[in-house]
Symmetry: C2
Subunit: 210 residues, 2 copies
């Protein structure tokens, strides 16, 4: 459909921001938005908006702008969000439970369909509507629901082992919240969310000690 | 100390990863590491490691490598982590509470010193050792402890109002977990962590529908 190679990681993140704004604009009944408006609403430059969109083809009408609904639908398709995705979470600790209840996932088409742990004390407890199940049941669940996406919220020390097991169970895309450098085989997409590093970005830019 | 402008955002994130590896290497008693080793451990290319470090000056000995402890200390200084930082969280819901208990912050020098909410039912409850306090008390706390950093874990609809108030209280760097596009005045550093967009990065790269 379009070339995926060489698309910067940051572009993917910005497409998400653009799509949120476009949805809002469409819901307000706005029929045309400019790259300036998209840029202003999402905190980037108009040139950046045009550059990001240019990776995927030609959009909008020169001198007029974009139709919010059309561009929204197209971006959602680019992001693979023209369908819903079942997602499982490994680790039913505080962070895993918070992620299971995080409303922002369902809104974008991600349904948390399972949460797994190895701690016998947690098995059978509920997080919202979802019962915590033993990790050994992961393979069956992944197969039954054709699950491709998983979130890792376990301690750093067990993260690699858990990721290896997820891959073995058929998971293709993994978000890792454990503060550990994890490796995955070719063909598996891994993304690490390092919560402390978000704060480090702030301290770097605040530059207090310099 | 060094130029901060034009440092790519991704470089800052990678410095965090390098520093974790360097700390491990130093703790194992390793006296020299190559850019190849740093690259392998953190999942980037050796050229990327050298490029990232070159922003900040000259490091290591050509043909020999880097001393892990020296480079670790230098990177921590670059990141502003040669000191500890007090941090407050606004929003004592599930996500806010999970973040307050997240062990990865303290390990990197960030101490969660307060958690604030507007819900009278939550005030006075404890998250770990920290008592949830009313949002009105934020200004005093920020002043007393010279707090510069805050985390927003409130619903999207109230995020802008909360951020405005934080800025008014003297907070200079903000991590926003609410799925909302927020604006801040010049001089304030804002970083949005969009948990759903992390999954969108996966679905984009899995490219199933293409």
């Amino acid at each position: 459909m379009f070339k995926k190679f060489k698309i910067p990681e940051a572009t993917v993140g910005r497409l998400t921001a653009y799509s949120r704004y476009l949805k809002e604009a469409d819901e307000k009944g706005i029929s045309t938005v400019s790259s300036q408006q998209i840029a202003k609403a999402t905190g980037v430059t108009p040139a950046q908006v045009r550059k990001d969109l240019a990776y995927f083809g030609e959009f909008g009408t020169r001198g007029v702008g974009y139709n919010p609904r059309e561009l929204y639908n197209y971006i959602m398709k680019i992001l693979g969000l023209d369908r819903r995705w079942p997602v499982i979470i490994i680790g039913a600790g505080r962070l895993g439970a918070a992620l299971a209840m995080y409303g922002g996932f369902a809104e974008r088409g991600f349904d948390i369909v399972g949460i797994f742990d190895v701690d016998p004390a947690k098995i059978g407890n509920k997080v919202g509507e979802i019962e915590i199940r033993p990790l050994q049941e992961l393979k069956e669940k992944v197969k039954d629901l054709s699950i491709k996406l998983g979130i890792v919220a376990v301690p750093a020390a067990s993260a690699q082992e858990v990721v290896d097991f997820m891959v073995d169970c058929g998971i293709k895309g993994i978000i890792n919240f454990a503060p550990a450098n994890i490796s995955v085989p070719e063909g598996i997409v891994l993304r690490r969310v390092d919560l402390a590093s978000q704060l480090e970005y702030l301290t770097f830019h605040l530059g207090e000690s310099r």
